[in-house]
């Protein structure tokens, strides 16, 4: 796996250089006899260290665009490049490695595994990246990193708890810690506050802002909340399948 990972990974782009570029991206869904065009010639360039928000109404295709950018889904036409490489030309295994080693995902509904505790959920991407013996060999370092991330998220007292015993905000912070475990180049956040109350949502947003400011984390966030979007470097609006910069 590491050999393929070496092929995919490349030296970090200089701050300000385009790291993730989408051009002419189209995506259609077939619903019975009719086709729904969700994305129409979407162009987007995300620079290293940039915090970009994609804003739009529910059902506007924001999440679909995020999935395509994050190598979870494929577009019907157009090109998405990461570090200059066309994601569509990678095999499904290579895209999986890309998601594991270069990208991190935070979802609206947290998506933690109920069978694993907080520590194990945080270690999920590391457990995918390492073999049985490899993980055992580096267990202490990996656990130390997971502990560090969880402590940063204020979850130092929750290591052995299961997701179902956590509040929504705590779950989302575990999801962020999990996404950061393998030190991703790009963090994708799909409505990270969408399922939280306003106060907790602000706390989660503060975590993302801190990540961006303190470690220069590249973040692509999808939200329909204008007040959150305003706190990021750049806001793009997706409307009727067309992505354009937000007014004002």
């Amino acid at each position: 796996m590491s050999a393929i990972a070496d092929k995919i990974s490349s030296p970090p782009a200089a701050k300000g250089a385009a790291i993730l570029v989408a051009s002419g991206v189209k995506k259609t869904f077939r619903m019975g006899d009719s086709e729904i065009q969700v994305l129409r010639n979407v162009d987007l360039s995300v620079a290293a260290g940039e915090f970009v928000t994609i804003e739009g109404r529910s059902g506007s295709g924001k999440s679909t665009l995020l999935h395509i950018l994050g190598a979870l889904d494929k577009c019907n036409s157009g090109v998405v490049t990461f570090d200059g490489r066309d994601i569509a030309k990678l095999s499904s295994g290579q895209r999986a490695i890309l998601r594991n080693t270069q990208f991190g995902f935070v979802f609206q509904f947290y998506h933690l595994l109920p069978e694993l505790n907080v520590m194990e959920n945080t270690l999920l991407s590391a457990m995918i990246d390492h073999s049985l013996l490899g993980f055992r060999a580096q267990k202490s370092q990996l656990r130390a990193r997971a502990k560090d991330l969880l402590c940063q998220m204020g979850l130092e007292h929750r290591f052995r708890h299961r997701p179902q015993h956590l509040s929504g905000g705590e779950r989302q912070r575990v999801a962020i810690a999990r996404a950061l475990m393998n030190q991703p180049r790009v963090l994708f956040a799909d409505e990270p506050t969408g399922n939280l109350d306003a106060d907790t949502g602000r706390q989660i947003m503060a975590v993302l802002e801190r990540l961006h400011e303190q470690v220069g984390q590249t973040i692509v966030m999808v939200t329909h909340d204008r007040s959150l979007a305003c706190k990021t470097d750049r806001v793009m609006v997706l409307e009727s399948g067309i992505l354009r910069p937000a007014q004002g």
């Binding site: 979870l72 499904s92 998601r99 979802f107 595994l113 069978e115 194990e120 999920l124 991407s125 990246d129």
Partner: protein
């Protein structure tokens, strides 16, 4: 090859491939495979149903195969032990003559170790045990054999109660008890008590010596036992002289004993009155009057071969005694048809042959047949069907029975295949449910970077672990049941009046309680492979899931 067979074999071939794939991925693939596999196994109780199903199927098949295979093995071993390697016999009770010439020729064959004649007939036995009991009256199969030679040919001597090994063991047991009493006496300060202990020790030592003497004198069973038994029972008015009684060995079942029952000394004071039908050499004489032979014997030993029919029906006499009592010895008679004096050579019923170690009975059979044929030609012997003289290996002699059981075993294999299919289908259904239920988890793991092969390996490994655990627990359960099957059977009989094993039907008085390593390896492997096969399609479905659709799964 028909298409259906190709499909079936392809499916069967997938199981080992999938098993190896799962094992390799668990050991060398991402850590998450073994983590989720174990966690699902512990947390998803629905999967325990498939685990229990695999366990029960494995245990059931192992128990049935072990009992049936064990029975077949016991049957083969016991028959081999009682017959020897080959047998020359006639189905007619007349027997055949010139057997000694045949034996001489057979013994010249280098592969032959020993050959001995036996006589076989039927009679009515009346057995008196003790004063109070009324005599046992029963039809018996009477076998005449040479105790000094039979041990060289088959395992009959091992079936005797008073064989030297048993007698020596008893001698040692009594000697040990005597020594113990002596030690106790030396530590006792109370003089009368010490004297009593020493007296006990002397008695025990005397008993030990008596058993040792019997062991050293073996085979003493053919000798009469004119001891105090003469004074007991109702024989004093008998016209027979007890001092001239010969010894007879009876099957334990003939006197109502099971193989495991203790044999009390009173049985060795029992008398046996045996009535036989004689077959004279004068075949022209159709008059059967005055052709019965009735004689008394002392019961001098009890045999336990383990074969129900033999133990229930057979009694054993010295070869020459039975030959004489049946009128099968060499004789001169006046022919009823010609009125002239004729000579009839001695006859036997069968010749039991043992071969040197490692010699295949089938390889030696043609030479033995040739030796028998040569003697028949020399003496112009002719035995037409159905009383033809046959040379057969020990398993050919039992072929009808053995092939029937082999067929039953084949049917069992088919049954096992059906059970495996049911288990595979059950695992498939449960795993399909689990994969549906875990769709979102699959999406999460894929979104974090798991490859499709890792997802497949999680569920194949899950199936493999169910197979390993279910197969292992099934083996343990089967081991416990098989090794205690006779006790369980007795318990069922006592508490629920259920008798599954009928010794009359199955020939042995105990249920086989051993397991065959080969059977274990095959059955447990099939259980494991079936579990993986059942998980195969759900695993493929899980691997092919689109992560985005899986994440949106409601």
């Amino acid at each position: 090859m028909p298409a259906i067979q190709i499909i079936l074999w392809s499916i069967v071939a997938f199981a080992p491939i999938a098993t190896i794939f799962a094992l390799v991925r668990i050991l060398t693939g991402p850590r998450i495979i073994s983590k989720l596999m174990v966690r699902y196994l512990m947390k998803r109780r629905i999967a325990w149903v498939s685990l229990i199903a695999v366990m029960l199927c494995t245990a059931m098949v192992l128990i049935v195969i072990s009992v049936m295979g064990g029975w077949l093995r016991m049957f083969r071993e016991t028959n081999h032990a009682l017959i020897g390697d080959l047998i020359v016999y006639r189905t007619s009770l007349d027997g055949f003559s010139h057997y000694q010439e045949m034996i001489d020729q057979i013994k010249k064959i280098p592969e032959v170790k020993e050959a001995t004649p036996t006589v076989r007939s039927y009679g009515l036995a009346e057995i008196g045990i003790g004063h109070t009991q009324s005599p046992i009256r029963t039809p018996v199969e009477v076998i005449g054999l040479d105790i000094k030679q039979i041990g060289q040919v088959n395992g009959f001597v091992r079936a005797l109660h008073l064989q030297p090994g048993v007698l020596r063991a008893k001698a040692k047991e009594y000697a040990d008890q005597a020594a113990q009493k002596e030690r106790e006496a030396s530590h006792t300060t109370v003089v009368p008590m010490a004297d009593d202990l020493r007296a006990d020790a002397e008695d025990l030592a005397a008993t030990a010596k008596s058993f040792q003497a019997k062991a050293d004198a073996f085979p003493s069973w053919v000798k009469p036992l004119p001891d105090e038994a003469y004074l007991r029972g109702g024989l004093s008015s008998s016209k027979n002289n007890p001092a001239k009684f010969g010894g007879i060995v009876v099957g334990c079942g003939v006197i109502g004993l099971r193989g495991t029952d203790p044999i009390e000394i009173e049985y060795f004071h029992a008398w046996v009155k045996l009535t036989l039908l004689k077959f004279s050499g004068d075949f022209s004489d159709e008059d059967l009057q005055d052709k019965t032979s009735t004689n008394y014997y002392w019961l001098s030993d009890v045999s336990h071969t383990g074969v129900f029919q033999a133990d229930e029906n057979e009694v054993y006499l010295p070869f020459d005694v039975l030959q004489d009592r049946l009128g099968m010895g060499a004789s001169t008679y006046t022919s009823a048809s010609t009125g002239q004096e004729e000579t009839e050579p001695a006859r036997c019923s069968e010749i039991l042959i043992s071969l040197n170690p490692g010699v295949d009975p089938y390889a030696a059979k043609p030479q033995i047949s040739a030796a028998v044929d040569a003697v028949m030609q020399k003496f112009d012997l002719y035995y037409p069907d159905p009383g033809q003289l046959r040379v057969e290996t020990w398993d050919e002699k039992q072929q009808d029975f053995l092939s029937a059981v082999e067929h039953e075993k084949s049917l069992l294999v088919i049954l096992f295949a059906i059970i495996s299919i049911v288990a595979i289908f059950l695992i498939f259904c449960i795993f399909f449910m689990i994969v549906m239920e875990k769709t979102r988890d699959i999406g999460i793991v894929k979104s974090v970077g798991a490859t499709s092969s890792s997802i497949a390996a999680i569920f194949l490994g899950y199936g493999l672990s169910i197979g390993l655990l279910g197969g292992g627990l099934g083996l343990l359960l089967a081991y416990l049941v098989v090794h205690n099957i006779n006790q369980l059977h007795a318990w069922l009989g006592v508490h629920f009046h259920i008798q599954i094993w009928n010794a009359k039907t199955y020939l042995f008085d105990t249920i086989p309680n051993t397991m065959d390593g080969h059977d274990i390896a095959v059955i447990v492997s099939v259980a494991i492979l079936s579990s993986v096969l059942g998980a195969l399609l759900p695993a493929i479905r899980a691997a092919r899931m689109n992560p985005v659709e899986a994440l949106r799964w409601e």
